[in-house]
Symmetry: C2
Subunit: 322 residues, 2 copies
Amino acid sequence: MSAVSRVLSGDPAARLSEATRERVRQAAVEVGYHPNFAGRALKLARTDVIALIVPDVTNALFSMLVQGVEDEAVARGCVMLLARSEDMQPGGTMFDRLVGEGRVDGIVLQPRDGTDPAELAETVGMRAPLVTIHQPIPGASSVVVPDALATRTAVEHLASAGHRRIGFAGGLAASPSARRRAEGFREAVARAGLDDDPALMTWRGYQEGDGRAAVAELLALPEPPTGLVVANVNAAVGALAQARTQGRAVPEDLSVVAVHDAKTAEHTWPPLTCVRMPLYELGRAAVAALFDVIAGGPVERRAVESPPPELVVRESTAVRGS
Amino acid sequence: MSAVSRVLSGDPAARLSEATRERVRQAAVEVGYHPNFAGRALKLARTDVIALIVPDVTNALFSMLVQGVEDEAVARGCVMLLARSEDMQPGGTMFDRLVGEGRVDGIVLQPRDGTDPAELAETVGMRAPLVTIHQPIPGASSVVVPDALATRTAVEHLASAGHRRIGFAGGLAASPSARRRAEGFREAVARAGLDDDPALMTWRGYQEGDGRAAVAELLALPEPPTGLVVANVNAAVGALAQARTQGRAVPEDLSVVAVHDAKTAEHTWPPLTCVRMPLYELGRAAVAALFDVIAGGPVERRAVESPPPELVVRESTAVRGS
DNA sequence: CATCGATGATCAATCGTTTGCGCAACTGGA
DNA sequence: TCCAGTTGCGCAAACGATTGATCATCGATG
C-alpha cells in the first residue's frame, strides 16, 4: 500500500526505481485500483474540487465562462462543482455547508449584479479561497474583462458610421462592470467629439426587460439617438424588440451594438453587431487566480487583456442615413 | 464529539433528549463548527455529490435541464458537479477518476447524439449508479421526455393551418430521441391524412448546420413542403437562416415549428413557434431516478409526462396561403 | 430499598490514504 | 573487507467522523 500510494501520487521523493514504479502502475491498472477519494481528501485536507457559483445559467454568456472554468480546473487535475440555486448562493444553507465542511478547495464567484461588495464580503466571510469575476469585493482577488475598451470599440464603430448622437443602455448604476462600460462610453464619446448629452445614458440593468425600458426612455427624447450601445447582449435583445414595438427599424432608424457576443446574437432579428469579450479566457484566468490564492498568493485585481475585445459586425448597424 | 456527531446527523436512534440536542446545535452554531466533509465521506462511503455529464453547454436547452438537476440534488442535500469537457466524458481520464475514486454518489449522463448505446454502456462499465437522459443504454435506468407527442403536436398545428405537405428535419437516424420524434411525426401525418412522402423526412441531426442542410434538401424537392417540423430548436435556428438564404419567407412560404422551446426562440428572426418540453422536470426526474438506483431499486425506463408538451405559437407559422 | 428505563459521557475501532522512519539487502568503489 | 548509497519493504501514526458498547447517574415505580 505504501509503495502504491507513493507511485500513484507521483511522489518524487519516494525511494523507488523507475522500473518498480512502472510495475506498480501496471498492477494498479490491471486490478482497476483507484485511490479512495475520501481517504485522500481526509489526509491531504484537499478535495481537488473547485466551485463555480453563478446567479444565473440562462444568461447567454454563461456557456463560455463555464467552459473556461472547467477546462482550467480539469487541466489542473480538479473537477468543477456548479452552483446556481438560491440555497447555493452566498448566505444560503448549502453555501454555508460547502464552505464550512471543506467540500471545495476554492470558489469562483460571479456576484449578482447590483450586489453590495462590502455586504457580500461579509456574507462570504473569507472562509475559503475565493476569486470573484466581473466585480471585486473587499479582501478577495478578482478578475475582470476590459469593459471600457469594449464600449469604446462600440462607440468608435458607430461614430465611424456617422452617428453623432449615440445612446447608452447601461447596467445598474451600482454595478462596477456597468461603471467600467459607462466610462469607456464617455471617453469614446469625448474623444470622437460626439454629442455629450447626459440624457443619452440610461442605467436600467442587464436583463432583456431592462433593454426594452432603456430604448423606450431614449426614443422618448426630443432628439432620440440614431446609434445605441447596449452594455450586455441580453439587454440588446430586449432593445431590438422594443425598437420594433415602437416602429423603429434597426439598423435604419437605430443602429445597435451590444457588448459581449453570444451564439444567440447571430440569430436575432436582425443579427446583432457585437463586441466579443474574452469570457472563456475569463473563466480560465479566474481559476488560475484561484490557484494562486490557494497557494498563499496575495489578493490581486486582474484583468483579461487577451484576446482583446473584437468587433463582430452583423446586421444591426449601418451607416447613418442609409 | 460523539454527541455532536449524533445530533448533527439527525440520528433518531441516539439516546439524547431534545433539550440536549438543541443545546448541541446551538453550540455548533456558536463556534461555527461544521463536520469535516472528507471524514464523513470516508466513514459513510458517500460524498453527497451528483455528477451531471453533458456533451455541450452551448445548447440552448441546457439551462433548464441543469436547473432541474441542481434543484433536485440540493433538495436532497447533495451538490451537483458539472462535467462537459472531453476528459470528463465517458472514456476520458477524468471520468475514470470520477468513477473509480468514489468522488460522486451517482451520475446523470446525457449521451452524445448518435452514440452507440451498447458501446457507451461498455465504456461506462456500470461502476457507479447511473441514469441516462434522452437515450437509454443497456443496464442503466433512463428518463426521457415525450418526443412523439411533441412532434405530433407540431404536425397538428401545421395541419390545422392548412398545410398538406409537411417536412421533417430530424436528428441523426441512429438517435433514439430522433426516432421517437419521427414516430410521432409519422403518426400525426397518417392520422391527419397528410401527404405521406418519404422524401419529406430528413435525418441530418440536431445542430444548427444540420437544420440548414435539411432545409436545403427539402426545398430542392420538386414539390417542397409548405410546413416544417424541426426536431430541435438549435436546428430550427439553422433552418430559418437557410430559408432566408434561399429567398423563402417564413412563415409565408414555409411555416416552421420546432421541438423544444428556449429563451433564444423568442428572439429569432422571426420568433419561433415551438413545442415546449419539460426539460426542468426531466432534470429533476433524472435525479429522483438516480436516488432510486442508489437505494438499490431496479433498472427502469421512465418518461416525464407532466407537464405535457405545450405549443407556443410565435411568428414562424401561419395559415397556408396567407 | 431494589430494580428498571432513560439519558449523558466516554472509549475504541473503523473507514483508506499518506508519509516519516527503520531495517535489510544489494551494489559499487576504495 | 568495509563503507556508503540506493532501493524495497513494512510499520505506525495521523487525518476527522461515525457508531456500537459500556459505565454511571438519575428519576420513577413497585
